[in-house]
Amino acid sequence: MASNFSIKHQPGFTAIAATCFVVLYLPIIVLVIYAFNAATSTSEWGGFSLKWFQSAYQNTQVIDATLRSFQIGAIAAVLSTIFATMAALATTRTNSYPGLTFKYAAINQPLMVPEIVTAVALLIFFSRVKIFTGYSGLGYLIAAHTAFCIPFAYLPIRARLENMDLTLERAAADLYATPWKTFRRITLPLLWPGILAGLMLAFVISLDDVVITEFVKSGGQDTLPTYMLGQIRRGITPEINAISTAFLLLSVAIVTLFFFVSRKRD
């Protein structure tokens, strides 16, 4: 009797877990299947077709919004990763110094406030700045995205740095390497996986944002998510399924890459 008594067993837990995994994936799978539906209605199956992908591809609004999403995402991800790397270097591998706790709090602040509150705050602030400067370009969206991407980019970079001791850097300094050379030849190569993970995380976070973009954007500045939100509110066509499927594929690709980059030890 004792031999088949498993200490790890809890009644019903495996069933609940299995249900969770099925429930997590089922709606996404249905969404993808209906992207290939030939029927115009989203409620019946009219055979396999790629026509909704084609129609999305020929929709200039979709292409515009996609390109804008990539543009904002790329710039915001690169900027936030650079800033987060610098901030991580400044806040790790040191004894506590005045202001260190403040820095942690400030960098993580965007995570603590509900998105809707930040969105409203930026709407108010940027509308003032717009009147004052007359500029109404993509700069506002890029600034907002950079700000909320920093804490995400900071996370893996800081984690990586905390696992690196200063031995190699000290050795380099002993051998008369300049601080810059030490950074380029020692710190940066060791830190690289963390930076890469931060960059991908920031890009995904920027690409996924709906709320802040929805409030900050000026007319004609739809990103792919805000365009989709508008379409879904108006009524759905399988074209949204097709766009979602393409978007999904991209996210999964980035996450897979991220998973391998951040799992690789040294």
Partner: protein
């Protein structure tokens, strides 16, 4: 050797200064495009609304009064603003129930994942991470297609003859609840799993050696040990659920507003920016209270488990 001491002190000062310079860009961007504007919201909440949106620059506490109260236009008496109270209550209730639902589903899931062999654990973690990083809007849209009247659930129920007309789930509070539980579930599983992974099963074994039942082991040994993860998960679900915008906008329809929709309304058709600001600050205060409770709880359990 006073000079050596002075040199060391100067080096330390330089180090601290360099560290401030290094973190300056990140701090500046966050100050300009995240933290700073929050202070402007506080200012705006004490101003009068402009006729076409924005504000008039004169002091007014009307916005704060009308967060929970409304003035009768005939006899000027104040009464509870039923519409606002309803929306506050609905948001807190839905966020709370979402937290409990994700906990009830997420805890066993995290336990299941943590008790797999070390090799397959990564696979399960990966499977939970994918929905986590998938666009929230797309996941909400996926739920919409499942629960609407022509969706899979209703089609199956109709075909099996269980119901004669489609069950109206979409555009109800239940729809928002299902949607939020669905999109926030990974946020609950991940921190609990992180705690669970470190769980020392020798303690569980000791419990069984002392004739504890499965439930007793779960409740008295496992649960207390992974409590920090449970609290972290609850906070991670509760905060975004309280301020949720996308899910109620898509699944709730026009009538079932949550706080964020009410706030949006004030900046759009409502043209009452001060009220919108006051409501935003109120949401933030609720979140801060929840976070403080978390920090206090976390430091308490930190002492107990070393």
């Amino acid at each position: 050797m006073a000079t050596a001491e002075e040199v060391a002190k100067a080096a330390e000062r330089r180090d601290v200064r360099d560290r401030w310079l290094l973190s300056a860009p990140a701090l500046l961007v966050i100050l300009l495009a995240a933290t700073g504007p929050l202070l402007i919201v506080v200012v705006y909440s004490f101003l009068a609304p402009g006729a076409y949106g924005d504000v008039k620059w004169q002091f007014s506490s009307d916005a704060w009064t009308s967060v929970f109260l409304e003035r009768d236009i005939f006899d000027d008496t104040l009464s509870l603003a039923a519409a606002h109270v309803t929306i506050f209550w609905r948001s807190i209730k839905l966020a709370g129930v979402t937290t409990l639902a994700t906990l009830a589903l997420g805890f066993p899931t995290a336990y299941f994942m943590a008790t797999r062999s070390e090799k397959t654990r990564d696979l399960w973690l990966f499977l939970i991470t994918i929905p986590f990083w998938t666009n929230l809007l797309i996941r909400t849209f996926a739920v919409l297609q499942i629960i609407r009247n022509e969706g899979i659930i209703n089609t199956i129920l109709l075909k099996l003859g269980i119901v004669s007309a489609p069950v109206q789930i979409l555009y109800t509070d239940t729809a928002i609840l299902i949607g939020m539980a669905y999109v926030y579930l990974p946020l609950m599983v991940l921190p609990i799993y992180a705690s669970m992974e470190k769980l020392d099963f020798r303690l569980v074994e000791a419990g069984y050696d002392l004739y504890a039942t499965r439930f007793r082991v779960l409740w008295r040994i496992i649960f207390p040990l992974v409590k920090p993860g449970v609290i972290a998960g609850s906070i991670l679900v509760f905060i975004p659920a309280l301020g949720a915008y996308v899910t109620p906008s898509i699944l709730g329809g026009g009538k079932n507003m949550m706080l964020s929709n009410l706030i949006e309304l004030q900046f759009g058709q409502g043209r009452n920016w001060p009220l919108g600001s006051a409501l935003s600050i109120t949401v933030m205060i609720i979140v801060m209270v929840a976070l403080l409770a978390y920090v206090r709880n976390a430091s308490k359990s930190g002492v107990r488990h070393g």
